[in-house]
Every structure is written in C-alpha cells, then in structure tokens.
C-alpha cells in the first residue's frame, strides 16, 4: 500500500499536473466547490419560487424539483454528455458537463433545504417585516433569507459531502477526478485492486467524515445561537 502511495501519491492528489491537466483529489475538490457555488444561487431562486406568493413560478419550481428527484444523477450526466452537444451544436468539456449535471441535480435538493429553512422561520418574522411596511423584496433579502440560510448552513455543508461523492460519477465520462485517476492506476497495476481501491475509499472517507463532523459542530453552534431555528434533515 505504501509503495502505491509513494508511486502514485502525487497523481492521486493532482492527476497529471503539472505535465498535463489537473486531476485527482484537487479536481474532485474544485468540481465539488464550483458545483456548490453555482448551485447555491439557483437553489435560492428555486426556494423563493417554491415558498413565494406567485403561482406560476411555484408550479415551475415544483415541477422541476419533482422531475429531478425522480431520475438518477447518472442519467443527467448522460444527457449533458451525449444529448446536450447535439442540441446546442458544439461539444462541451467533460468537466463542465459533470458540473452542469451536478448543478441541475443538486439545485433541486438544495432548493428544498433552503425552502425548508424559509418555512421553518416563525411566521412573526415576515409579519413584523410586513407591518413595518416592507415589501416582498426587502422582506425576503433583509429579513427572511439571511436567517433561513444561516439556519440551514449545516444542510448546505452536508450537500457538499454529497456532491463530493457524486463527482465520482465523472469517471464514467473520463473526467480525471479522484476515482478516474485511481481507475487508471488500477489498470497499470492490475494485481493490486485491494490496495488501490482501499486508498480511494480512505480518501473519500477522510474528506467526507471531516465534513460531517463539521456539520455536527455547526449544527450545535447554530442551535445555541438563536431561537426560531429549523433543523433540516440531510437529503439526497
């Protein structure tokens, strides 16, 4: 095991870099963080549509959420990888394809988490804002969202864990993230799958376990800080 780490450790961390494209754990992290960062504003919009007063956006968001939740992520990746280039007429880099699929998929789940955060606030908060004369936009952006998002930070961090695991599906379309790199290592060293995939498992475990510990810690901090909070169960 040690000699595999000695030989392939750098590859596990950064892929072919600096001689080729960045890959490995670094790419997994970049894909995950970028995906979450792009998902976040989309999820906020979905949550606002879901909880807001307008019927059409509500119906569209609800249709989107229910559709996405009814299909596997892998199918979205196939769509983005095989079908989308035909529709738009030019090819897209596989890494972007993967990010796009994760964003669409996670927007539905993260949107529901943020919507739960909005609905979990005491009704008095929006009533007090209304009673002051604040309209929908200042009420939403100054009163509701800051609290709702703060309260669901643990849920958001938890989705990052999910995204990290989901990004391993990129190996199917040859995105050279962590799993793909280890697959390649395995084809070089055909006799050591136990060690190679053991290292792969340990890497994911350390990363995701640390994040879930961070989630627990955040949950306690947030619970201590305020009343009227909401505890959102992990989904996806």
């Amino acid at each position: 095991m040690l000699e595999i780490i000695r030989e392939y450790g750098l590859m596990l961390l950064v892929g072919e870099y600096p001689h080729g494209k960045l890959g490995g754990l670094a790419l997994t992290l970049i894909i995950s963080i970028v995906s979450l960062a792009v998902t976040f504003p989309c999820a906020v919009l979905i949550a606002l549509a879901r909880t807001g007063p307008l019927r059409t956006p509500k119906a569209i968001a609800s249709g989107f959420v229910h559709s996405v939740r009814a299909v596997p992520l892998l199918m979205l990746i196939f769509w983005a990888y095989f079908a989308l280039p035909i529709v738009i007429g030019f090819p897209i880099d596989a890494t972007y394809t993967l990010i796009l699929a994760i964003v669409v998929y996670q927007a539905a789940y993260l949107g529901e988490i943020i919507a739960a955060g909005i609905e979990g606030l005491p009704k008095g908060q929006s009533e007090a804002a209304k009673a002051l004369g604040l309209g929908y936009v200042p009420t939403t952006f100054r009163v509701i969202l800051p609290q709702a998002i703060f309260n669901v930070i643990p849920g958001i961090v938890n989705q990052l864990t999910t995204i990290i695991k989901e990004s391993s599906l990129g190996s199917i379309i040859a995105v050279s993230e962590l799993s793909y790199v280890m697959l390649q290592v395995n084809s070089n060293e055909v006799t050591k799958p136990l060690q190679i995939f053991g290292i792969l498992a340990a890497t994911y475990f350390i990363l995701c376990f640390a994040l879930s510990q961070a989630t627990n810690w955040l949950e306690r901090r947030i619970a201590n800080r305020r009343t009227g909070r909401v505890v959102v169960e992990a989904v996806a």
Partner: protein, 243 residues
C-alpha cells in the same frame, strides 16, 4: 383617526368579527379586552391590512384603507404595530432592527439613519444596548426595542397586541411605563391588554369584545363601575381570580 364601519370578517365559515362599528379619536388610547378567541387580535390586525375584511369599511386618517389610491406598504408605514412575541429580527443588532425601516423604506444610509435610531433607543431607555443582539437582552428590553422600531417612521397610530403577555411579571411594568409615557405624549394607540390597572389609568375608552362582537365601549369610569355590561363584570371578576 380610525373608524370601523360595519366591519365583518370570516375565517371560512367562522364569523370572527361581527358588524363592528367604532371610532378611535386622534390622540386617544383605546384598550381592547375580552376573552381569548373573541377577535381582539383579528380586529387590530385589520387596521394595517394584516387581516383582510369581507364587509364594512375601515378608514385611517380619513382614507379608506382599501381605496385604490392607498398603497398597503405606505399605509403600514403610518401605523406602528407591536406583537406579543416582539418579533425582533434575531440576525440584526438592536440598532439595526430599529434602523431597518429608515434604511429600506426611507433609503437612508447607515450614517444618516444612526442618529435618529439612537435617539429613539434613548427614548425607550436602551441606548446602551444598541449593539447587542436580540438574543442577549431581556424580554422587557426586547419589547421596548420592538416599540422603538415601530415608532421610528413616526407613525400616526400605534397598535399593540398583548405587548406584555409574553413577559415575566417583573418586566411588565417597564413596558407599561413606556406606553403610559407615549399615551401622555398624545400618541393615538390601540392596545390589546388584560392589564386592567393600566386600562383604568391610561385608556380613554375601553372596548370589550366577545365572540367577535364589540359588546361594550365605555370610558374606564363606566367600564369598571357596576353599571357595566354583565359580560364585562363577569370578565373582570374572572381576571381578578387569576391574579
């Protein structure tokens, strides 16, 4: 200042306000009381359109609050509203709570809004708590901040729905003292409360509601006298037993 004319409201098939007609004169303080579920909250919440009505008209400062020319947010800016549960914004400091209307409705910068907000906090005796978070001050202090926030745009009317019901007994008096002071300064107020000492001393008129009806509307002297409506007398003796 506020006039209810034949106001009725239903929740589904349940009629919770029944043909209410009454007037709140400018500069007077009205205390509303009555058994739980009698419609006190619903009635005061109709004034700033937090609750819509199905029949009748309500005018504030001469204008029908449902007139096409009335913008609901402008209406609400002119009516301070204080809730039983304070409803301070927990993510904002005390001063930011008080400044929020100035900043978002009068579009003032932080620097412009600060002196006005500090002055208002001084009025409610909480200038030293300006930078505390709502979680770090007492219930009585929270309610005084909520009152400061509701007054920051200089509304013509202040409405309070059981402002002391969520408070520990030792904090009730600091809030009532502030309300007494505001009433003395000529604020037009509608206050739902079961603090009968306060009602006797501060109210110009006391309204008694029962089952959605305004069954008695009288000066305190009459309200607390043996000539009061039998329902009122029953209510008063029930309250006394609880205290």
């Amino acid at each position: 200042m506020i006039e209810f004319q034949g106001v009725s409201k239903w929740y589904g098939t349940l009629k919770v306000l029944k043909d209410i007609s009454a007037t709140v004169d400018k500069g007077t303080t009205i205390v509303l009381c009555g058994p739980s579920g009698s419609g006190k909250s619903t009635l005061v919440r109709t004034v700033n359109r937090l609750e819509p009505i199905q029949e009748g008209t309500i005018t504030v400062a001469g204008a029908d609050i449902y007139a096409k020319s009335v913008n609901v947010n402008t209406l609400r800016m002119g009516i301070g509203f204080v809730f039983q549960q304070f409803n301070l914004f927990p993510h904002l400091t005390v001063i930011d709570n008080v400044m929020l209307p100035l900043r978002r409705l009068h579009h003032q910068s932080r620097k412009e809004a600060l002196p006005t907000a500090l002055l208002m906090l001084e009025r409610v005796g909480l200038a030293d708590k300006a930078h505390a978070l709502p979680a770090d001050i007492s219930g009585g202090q929270s309610q005084r901040v909520a009152i400061a926030r509701s007054l920051i745009l200089n509304p013509e009317v202040l409405i309070l729905d059981e402002p002391t019901s969520a408070l520990d007994p030792e904090m009730v008096s600091e809030v009532l003292k502030l309300l007494r002071q505001l009433s003395g300064e000529g604020m037009t107020m509608m206050c739902v409360t079961h603090e009968m000492g306060f009602a006797r001393e501060v109210a110009d008129r006391i309204w008694f509601l029962k089952n959605g009806e305004l069954t008695f509307d009288a000066k305190p002297l009459v309200f607390f006298s043996p000539e009061a409506h039998p329902d009122v007398r029953g209510f008063l003796s029930a309250i006394q037993k609880n205290h």
